[in-house]
Symmetry: C2
Subunit: 408 residues, 2 copies
């Protein structure tokens, strides 16, 4: 039984967090630190974008199996910064290592913010030193770290669950994340700019990497705000084993708990997409392959025409089929069923490829279903047994405003 509890990244035993203002941003918190009292097994997913930010390059190269701390700054992505950027990312690790008396290889680093500017290392070093002194556990510390990694985010993204493993141990999983624009992560585990930190006091073996990739593929990698994958996406899971459980790698309750946390984080990122007023969930069922189902979900969730139609509750459902047709997913139009759900309404749109409605009055029903904070587009392809679900948001005036003014 997985139980959702009030908590965050320091809810599992032995984790501490801090968030401070270093001066990279004008006023807001902009530097965060996460620390585990004992070295934690680290499972990291990185952006698949060929243009990788300096911190991503540095972490991928070191590929540490254990991490004791992760430093995160916002305001500057340290991307497109060449050799100097690499040196700065390494210097951030070294500064944390010196403060916390651990090896530099045991320090993870993540950055988010503007691309193409050098880091102001004077400010960053000052921030690291302050954050190290302010490390703490509890809800206030969780909140400060969550706030320090935000960019255009409007809500803090954190959650925590408690779950009893098969061996009787009670373990906790906590997570925080940021991400609002340039969101279409496609994280690859080696050992999304979504930055996500997940902590647990359960014990995990190195072999958990593969399962972690599977969970990322079903959760974080199914979120898209704008189809633009960042140069900085990173998702770090730290398992410090302090609950003294047996390895929880294959414990169904633990996997369920982790999936629940990651799904919640994924949906929160979509809800808080830049300018978003609505969460869109796309469910594709009856596909021949899992890849087909994911292709279809992604194409629908990324279509600017679908997204703006949902913003305006405009019952222009043909656009959903247009997007499906462009996805490369295999289907036969005569088998397709399309339903739009919103609030407590569930409106069939296409039945075996044929439109259910023609009258203007009945189209009004579609509009009413779309006029909700959460709109579900359910497509049954009817030719197979595979399915996928993804999350996105509507395309609004505010998305344009935010992104026309970002660097300014």
């Amino acid at each position: 039984m997985v139980e959702i509890i009030e908590g965050g990244v320091t809810t599992p035993q032995g984790f501490k967090a801090a968030g401070v203002h270093s001066g990279v941003k004008y006023r807001a918190l902009d530097l965060g630190l996460l620390y585990s009292e004992v070295p934690a097994s680290a499972f990291v997913g990185y952006t698949s974008n060929a243009v990788k930010a300096a911190p991503v390059q540095v972490m991928m190269k070191e590929n540490s199996e254990k991490l004791s701390a992760v430093v995160v700054n916002s305001g500057n992505a340290n991307a497109l910064t060449g050799r100097r950027g690499i040196e700065d990312a390494q210097a951030m690790k070294q500064a944390v290592a010196a403060e916390l008396d651990v090896g530099p290889a045991a320090v993870g680093v993540m950055s988010t913010g503007l691309i193409g500017r050098f880091m102001d290392m004077h400010k960053v070093r000052y921030g690291i030193s302050r954050a190290a002194r302010e490390l703490n556990s509890g809800r206030e510390a969780d909140g400060l770290l969550a706030e320090a990694i935000m960019t255009t985010d409007t809500i803090k993204k954190e959650c925590a669950v408690r779950v009893r493993l098969a061996d009787g141990t009670l373990v906790y999983v906590g997570a925080i994340s940021k991400g609002s624009g340039m969101i279409s992560p496609h994280l690859k585990v080696l050992h999304g700019t979504t930055l996500t930190l997940v902590t647990t006091d359960a014990t995990l073996s190195p072999a958990f990497r593969e399962a972690w990739q599977g969970i990322l593929d079903d959760t974080m990698n199914m979120v898209s705000v704008d189809g633009d994958q960042s140069t900085n996406d990173t998702c770090i899971l730290l398992a410090n084993g302090l609950a003294k459980s047996k390895p929880a790698d294959k414990d169904p309750a633990f996997v369920e708990a982790l999936e629940l946390v990651m799904t919640k984080i994924a949906k929160t990122i979509a809800i808080d997409g830049e300018g978003a007023t609505k969460l869109i969930e796309v469910q594709v069922t009856g596909a021949e392959t899992k890849d087909d189902a994911r292709l279809a979900v992604k194409q629908i969730i990324n279509s600017p025409l679908v997204k703006s139609a949902i913003f305006g509750s405009d019952p222009n459902y043909g656009r959903i089929m247009m997007a499906l047709g462009n996805s490369g997913c295999k289907f036969n139009l005569d088998e397709v069923h399309l339903t739009i759900k919103g609030g407590d309404m569930e409106v069939p749109i296409l039945d075996s490829g044929a439109p259910v409605f023609q009258e203007e009055r009945s189209v009004e029903v579609v509009r009413m279903a779309m006029d909700n904070k959460e709109v579900i587009i359910a497509v049954d392809l009817g030719i197979g047994k595979e399915s996928a679900t993804g999350w996105g948001c509507d395309l609004t005036y505010d998305y344009v405003r935010i992104n026309a003014e970002y660097a300014s």
Copy 2:
């Protein structure tokens, strides 16, 4: 020597056009007809979207090598309309055939507008009958047809050129097009919803199909307003041979003329993208393969973040590299040069992968270059000799407004 002249689709000899109000739309012209006095060799490109509108399905199935007329309606796309849609598209061809005394197989049909509604054939038949009586040549007739096929278009898209072939014959090429949203054509020739009609009085052999695909790939298929490929995209080239030239298939002057016309039409579609305030041209050079170059162009031109940055003249050029990194195109960041051009300014941004600017003041120069009606993003990958150019537009408040309210 290709000469641009004031003209349109009836400028080449033997073509007549008409545009009328049939009543499918509330007030605007909504039904157009193009007629060639003699059967013309037809070269047609259709949407690659797996969900194809009824008129596209009907035309692809018949695959006529000669066409005498093309009927186009706007206001209803006749897409997602099942068997009844197919019958309606066939009925449109039959109605035109009866009016003009030609075989139904010699009539092309194109539709654009709302998806998922049945055609009102009573109105369409009335429109066809009126249009057939009003067929005429000259600028007024050109304009009526151009207007009848518009949906959210704000400008008529037409152009004409005159060119002397190698055999001394003077031939004309004219074209009209519509397209403003759901624009990311990927037209495939068998023998983009962009609807395009191109006429010429030159003579072309059936083998011209392949060359036509090449021209479409470099022109219409490199336009993207929103990355959403329509269910209805169709582009028809009619060559009626009335100039009595030798086959012009390989005449460099003719090919140049046709490319010029198609490039002009492509750019006009991008300029008139829904809500657009700026034309964006993306030039990728130095790619290893043509496909790589096209991938990179498409990814950059479709990025909502790049598009909204250009709307706001926001010098956030990191987004261009983010998009390049997501394109799947092969490159080495250390070899990449990026330049932004606007007005008479040409601003180097990245030099061998390193940012040229760091100071806020110099970033202002980028903003000034972006603050033009036409912004060119030039990326030299520096690893090969292939190149591609594409056209798009900025993402604006008006794009959202138009598409949040379309069906309403």
